[in-house]
């Protein structure tokens, strides 16, 4: 039986701002298995980024509160960890790539120092300097995680797809070995002349370069779960394509479980194995990418796919979903999509539909079944 790397059950997150209480994420459940890429897609404000940041407990608490649910990361419920214990699962455990590459590197330190710091954290944990959570005695096993990249010993270039072949033994005794390790990860993210940028400060680098360094930094800790929160959204279109290509290649190479958050359906379609569609804080449809995108069983997914501008057709106006995104301090009763839904009936206003299996149940453990939170999934294919 394969254990999921991440098992989220019934996660609910609320924000208290002034007198208002916003339920940003409501009753979200999902599993990520080793080596699988799960995409989360949805409009701005649907709670996808909140979900991504809540998993490593990065949300400022308060104003955010994790109301209920569990986030079990390799056997540890992260919701129950104290603030002192949290650093132990971050980095070498859960790595994260952020949306804002321009400001995500510390402006006061050189690239080398920031990279080396990440590798040092991982190295200390490998060496067992940090054995258990402080203030508790839950040992954390750092041995299960993504594989290091393999370099060609002569040319020092990364061997494509060679990562899975064998793990390089972790010996970082001398300064030179340490430096070589930093360079190895900079080469992994396809930086051609890594020696040249070691001594530079972040403000001397382009946005695409900074995002590559952020990716290298996250990967250099060899996380067993990588959360990519819109890693390409803030970049220029051409750079976006480059970073996306890089991400896709790295997904094959590092074999980490990945949670890929994006508002871009195309990006998710290209990278993810499974996809969860979020609307107003809930996952409304979940399943293998091909099933969800080719055969959507929730009216919101259908509308979202229709609204995505096609690159090949330019006839007619762009379509949009009628109505507005609901105010999360007073969400609609029942199904949150019902005020905008062409299929809405009285039942939809009365109660919230469960995320039920549509079509055939998955026989393979690590592949999710196609589920939809709609009372009338069989009517969705008939929608325009």
């Amino acid at each position: 039986m394969t254990e999921p790397v991440l098992d989220v059950q019934g996660l609910t997150i609320t924000y208290t701002v002034g007198a208002g209480v916003f339920q940003a994420v409501s009753d979200v459940s999902m599993q990520i298995y080793p080596g699988r890429v799960v995409g989360i897609v949805g409009e701005t404000g649907c709670g996808k980024s909140t979900l991504g940041k809540a998993i490593p407990r990065l949300l400022p608490e308060p104003p955010a509160t994790i109301g209920s649910g569990t986030v079990v990361f390799r056997g540890t419920d992260l919701v129950r960890l104290t603030k002192r214990q949290l650093p132990m699962v971050r980095g070498t455990g859960i790595g994260m790539i952020f949306q804002e590459p321009l400001n995500s590197l510390n402006p006061a330190f050189r690239v080398y120092d920031q990279m080396a710091e990440a590798i040092r954290i991982r190295h200390y944990r490998d060496m067992g300097y940090v054995k258990s959570f402080r203030g508790g005695s839950m040992p954390f096993d750092y041995s299960v995680r993504s594989t290091p990249p393999v370099t060609n010993p002569v040319t020092k270039s990364i061997v494509p797809g060679g990562a899975a072949a064998e793990a390089v033994e972790d010996k970082l005794r001398t300064r030179a070995e340490f430096r070589e390790e930093v360079l190895r990860y900079l080469r992994l993210v396809r930086i051609n002349d890594p020696e040249a940028i070691l001594g530079l400060y972040p403000h001397e680098l382009s946005g695409g370069m900074r995002q590559r360094i952020m990716i290298a930094m996250a990967l250099s800790e060899r996380p067993s779960l990588l959360i990519a929160d819109e890693p390409t959204s803030a970049l220029d279109v051409t750079i976006q394509a480059q970073v996306l290509t890089l991400m896709k290649e790295l997904i094959d190479e590092v074999k980490a479980a990945i949670l890929f958050i994006s508002h871009d359906l195309g990006v998710i379609a290209e990278t993810a194995d499974e996809v969860g569609v979020m609307y107003a804080g809930r996952i409304v449809e979940y399943g293998p990418v091909a099933d969800v995108f080719l055969n959507p069983r929730h009216p919101y997914t259908k509308a979202l796919l229709r609204a995505a501008p096609s690159r090949y057709k330019s006839d007619g106006p762009l379509s949009s979903i009628p109505g507005t995104v609901p105010n999360l301090s007073r969400p609609p009763s029942g199904c949150r999509f019902h005020p905008r839904c062409p299929l809405a009936r009285d039942a939809c206003k009365a109660s919230s539909p469960p995320l039920a299996i549509v079509g055939a149940e998955s026989k393979v453990e690590i592949v999710a079944s196609h589920r939809s939170a709609c009372f009338f999934p069989e009517e969705v294919p008939n929608l325009p």
Partner: protein, 341 residues
């Protein structure tokens, strides 16, 4: 890029050149203020002097004021800082008093940095909770204390209670060794005299603590404010996500950037402190430049010493400019995005 060592040298030289017009202005202003506003200037200057001095004074005073200024300024350029009425030359006094004040100010700055800055971090971290309020009470009570009151209270109550000396630089004056630098602790160390090092240190504690306590608010408040600005930024979140403990996130990644503002403000404060120790030096009998300034303007029943007063103002002005220059250099050292211009 404008960040090579040669750029730094050019930057420092430019700033030192700017010092020249500033000093000239200061000299002109103080000279004319001290010479123009008294009607019976010779009696005011030399109330107890003999008739010969008065006669000498009058021959000088009867010269045109421009001529007097030219004489003073020429002397100054030749390194002659003038003398008091009783014939005490000004320069040797300044040369011994300034290091003593610098020592006192550096000790106070040290306390402000090692206590005030961490307190600011603690306050920012606990933003709005009890630790924040406690820190605020601490630095506001210092900030709100009048210098004379704080100094006198410390000298009368705190010193005896803690068994700390409350006056002078050493228990025996002068100490039994050559005072090379006129910084009390440093001189004792240079002389290799352990007992006197401890003695000088004990004498320094009280005045430095009072000076630091009163000005602590600047360091704490600036650190708190800039930490609150830095903490929500993306790179602090990245640092946390690397798996660093909260201590390193705060004191390495956040504080390193927050210090840029604090350092600038502390530099400006240091310039002010050098000229603002008059009361503390007088209360603790610290033979520094503040005490000399006080004596020069007739404080404590001493003779008026106009050459001394002008010299003190020149030193204070230079101190402010140099402290600002050091703050600017440190700013560039801390923030790699700054060009030397």
């Amino acid at each position: 890029m404008g960040r090579s060592p040669s750029d730094l040298i050019v930057f420092v030289l430019k700033r030192l050149l700017q010092l020249i017009p500033v000093l000239f202005g200061v000299i002109v202003l103080t000279f004319f203020f001290t010479h123009l506003d008294l009607t019976d200037i010779c009696n005011a200057w030399y109330p107890h002097a003999g008739i010969a001095t008065i006669r000498h004074c009058e021959t000088t005073i009867n010269q045109p004021i421009a001529q007097q200024f030219l004489t003073y300024f020429t002397n100054l350029l030749h390194g002659n800082w003038g003398a008091s009425v009783l014939g005490d030359p000004v320069y040797p006094k300044i040369a011994t008093a300034l290091p003593a004040t610098v020592e006192l100010v550096l000790a106070a700055l040290f306390l402000m940095v090692v206590i005030g800055i961490p307190l600011g971090v603690v306050a920012a971290q606990s933003g709005g909770r009890w630790a924040d309020h406690l820190v605020r009470v601490f630095y506001l009570s210092g900030w709100a204390t009048p210098t004379y009151l704080g100094a006198v209270l410390a000298a009368v109550f705190l010193g005896p209670a803690l068994g700390l000396p409350t006056g002078g630089e050493y228990s025996t004056n002068p100490p039994p060794f050559t005072q090379w630098t006129h910084m009390s602790v440093l001189d004792a160390i240079l002389a290799g005299n352990l007992a006197y090092t401890a003695d000088a240190f004990a004498h320094l504690v009280l005045p430095a603590t009072v000076l630091a306590f009163i000005n602590m608010g600047i360091a704490t408040r600036m650190t708190r404010a800039s930490m609150l600005e830095v903490l929500p930024l993306d790179y602090v979140r990245s640092a946390r996500m690397k798996g660093l403990t909260e201590f390193w996130v705060l004191y390495k990644h956040a504080l390193r950037n927050a210090l840029i503002t604090t350092t600038t403000v502390l530099g400006i404060t240091a310039g002010g402190l050098l000229s603002g120790t008059v009361v503390i030096e007088e209360v603790f009998a610290w033979p520094g430049i503040g005490q000399y300034a006080y004596a020069s303007i007739g404080g404590g029943g001493s003779q008026l010493n106009f050459d001394g007063a002008i010299a003190v103002v020149i030193v204070f002005a230079t101190a402010v400019v140099v402290a600002n220059l050091i703050a600017d250099i440190l700013y560039g050292v801390l923030d790699p995005r700054v060009d030397w211009r």
